[in-house]
């Protein structure tokens, strides 16, 4: 059974209300917010002010690994059983560029997906309250907080324009 994270969940129909709530909560020291939206939203991103995702590092490492694997595999296998074909050198670089290119793309793409999964899993969302309406016209803001802080957070969310506020946790 997933343990429910103690906190307050607010729903916002208006984007600027949600942005104001996020900024206000951050000023009050609530940094570990979870903001739900149906689509990526640059106003929410700006309010949250997260650093750029490290997925790019996975992509780069994957692409470089693929490129090295492409040249490494073709050169090693060519020299493992040296056979002269078409008068070309045993380890002919130009034709192997095609294979190295394909593996660069393949490994880059696979590492990117792994990066998205790993980095998304680093922040566990287990036990954080969610409502199905967040996949439509509603923005959700979940504020993890101790039981004694819930009532002040609830008041703040209501004041900033949240249409529906609920408290979660024991």
């Amino acid at each position: 059974m997933t343990k429910v994270v103690s906190g307050v969940l607010g729903s916002f129909k208006h984007e600027d209300d949600a942005v104001a709530a996020i900024k206000g909560l951050k000023e009050k020291g609530f940094r570990d917010l979870t903001v739900y939206s149906a689509a990526p939203n640059h106003h929410l991103e700006a309010a949250l002010d997260h650093p750029v995702s490290w997925v790019r590092a996975f992509t780069l490492i994957g692409a470089l690994t693929g490129c090295a694997a492409g040249f490494g595999m073709t050169l090693w296998m060519s020299h493992d059983w040296p056979l002269l074909v078409g008068g070309k050198p045993i380890g002919a670089i130009p034709p192997y560029v095609v294979l190295a290119f394909e593996l660069t793309i393949l490994y880059g793409a696979m590492f990117t997906v792994i990066g998205v999964i790993v980095l998304s899993a680093l922040k566990s969302l287990r036990g954080r309250a969610y409502r199905p309406e967040f996949s439509d016209d509603t923005i959700g803001v979940f504020v993890p907080c101790a039981a004694d802080q819930r009532s002040s957070v609830r008041t703040f969310l209501e004041r900033t324009g949240s249409e529906e506020v609920s408290e979660h946790g024991a």
Partner: protein, 449 residues
């Protein structure tokens, strides 16, 4: 029903409207859908029966005879690989260019890409004859521990197609995750459990979007050179040889333009009836078809230039073998194939200069059929005409396709259609999340931004 403006992709709908209309496409399908599905399954079974006969009696059934040993199967292989190019062009390249019109059509074109490449992948396996050792094409030592010849464009092709299939499938699946979650939040019972499992715990949290949007961008950036490279590599299957009519430096761009042209032709063939069957005419509008038609016109015009350039180069080269090949393409025994290719691809596409035609869906559908036929004939002409008349006149021959060729061709359309229809019934064919991204959230101060 809420409608979208015809001259702008910006839908005047709410997020809930989008989800509701797309989820409705996953409910009980119409009779037309079942008719299409059963037809596809029937065609697929024709292909299966033909393949069983090929396994039993060998490739001789399929009109493989000297000097043409690459015949209808390789023609159809190149045809299907080409079809698979429009999807990634629309989903990845137009994503990087921030073209707003792609959002309504890219999911169906991506699915088309994956299923077209899956179909194409069957043909080299059918063509090799001894299908049970197809894995010798992979970097795996075969008899006497020999490795594949990495200097051969055929092995480049194995890598290019496998990479393309893997990356296209990944791109499709990654794009589907937020949409499956949106469907999960709307359905009930076992479907909620199924879509819940497939959505991988997606909730649209900021930590998920932050990594997802970056990852999607990099996947698009990787898929862009890939889509251009794959048909270039397919073209090198031909151009790396010295066969007349094949050995041309124009082949890579010529094949890439042709692939995109044929792919968009198939998109039009599929999406025009699909939007009616699924009742999503208000989401995929004349605006989208107008843009698809413009892309068709562009690639069709590049093809027109490439055809003209092939004939010009043959004449200007003073090479008797090149000149004979191209003379026979136009006036030889299979002149009808050569002219079908030129009329369907180079001339018919020029009708799209007229906006009235670009926005007339009946006309577009008819043109798309011409494109499909023309692009199949293009590959047939390239393969059959060049191999029939090589350097040595005493070895000349003629490709005469048999029932086994047509059986597998029909089966391939059934196999492709079956997967596409099942996909359209199971997953959102319109990208819910990207359409929502274009709909501004309401603002208390100053309305929508």
């Amino acid at each position: 029903m809420t409608s979208v403006a015809h001259d702008h992709p910006h839908p005047k709908m709410s997020h809930a409207d989008v989800t509701r209309d797309v989820v409705r496409t996953l409910e009980t399908p119409s009779r037309g859908y079942y008719l299409a599905l059963f037809s596809a399954v029937g065609m697929f079974l024709v292909g299966v029966a033909t393949f069983v006969m090929l396994l039993k009696d060998g490739l001789g059934l399929a009109g493989y005879a000297p000097p043409v040993f690459w015949s209808v199967y390789i023609t159809t292989f190149v045809f299907w690989v080409g079809i698979g190019h429009a999807g990634t062009l629309i989903s990845a390249i137009l994503f990087l260019f921030r073209s707003p019109w792609r959002t309504a059509v890219y999911r169906s074109t991506e699915a088309m890409t994956v299923f077209a490449v899956m179909t194409a992948g069957l043909f080299p396996i059918i063509h090799i004859g001894r299908q049970w050792i197809f894995y010798w094409l992979l970097p795996y030592p075969n008899q006497r521990f020999l490795w594949p010849n990495f200097k051969s464009p055929l092995i480049w092709d194995v890598f290019a197609i496998s990479t393309y299939l893997t990356v296209s499938t990944t791109f499709l699946c990654v794009g589907l995750i937020p949409d499956i979650a949106a469907v999960r939040d709307k359905v009930t019972g076992w479907r909620r459990k199924l879509y819940g499992a497939l959505s991988l715990g997606w909730t649209g949290a900021d930590s998920q979007w932050r990594n997802y949007t970056r990852g999607y961008l990099y996947l698009a950036a990787l898929a862009t050179p890939l889509v251009l490279s794959v048909h270039s590599v397919v073209s090198w299957d031909f151009a790396m040889s010295i066969v007349p009519g094949w050995h041309g430096t124009i082949f890579a761009p010529y094949f890439v333009a042709g692939a995109i042209y044929s792919g968009i032709g198939m998109v039009l063939t599929l999406v025009i009836p699909l939007r009616k069957v699924l009742k999503i005419e208000h989401m995929i509008t004349e605006y989208h078809f107008d843009n698809l038609a413009k892309l068709t016109l562009l690639t069709g015009s590049i093809l027109f230039y490439a055809y003209a350039m092939e004939y010009f180069v043959a004449w200007y080269s003073s090479n008797i073998f090149e000149q004979t090949t191209f003379w026979r393409r136009a006036f030889g025994p299979q002149w009808w194939a050569g002219w079908s290719m030129i009329i369907c691809n180079a001339f018919v596409s020029q009708l799209l200069w007229f906006k009235k035609i670009r926005t007339n869906l009946t006309a577009l559908f008819i043109i798309s059929i011409f494109i499909n036929v023309g692009m199949w004939f293009e590959r047939y002409v390239i393969i059959a005409s060049s191999l029939s008349n090589d350097f040595l006149p005493y070895a000349w021959g003629q490709l005469n396709p048999t029932w086994a060729d047509w059986g597998i061709l029909i089966g391939s359309f059934g196999w492709f259609g079956m997967y596409f229809l099942l996909f359209a019934r199971t997953f959102p064919v319109v990208a819910i999340q990207e359409i929502k991204e274009m709909i501004p959230m309401p603002r208390r101060k100053g309305g929508a931004h």
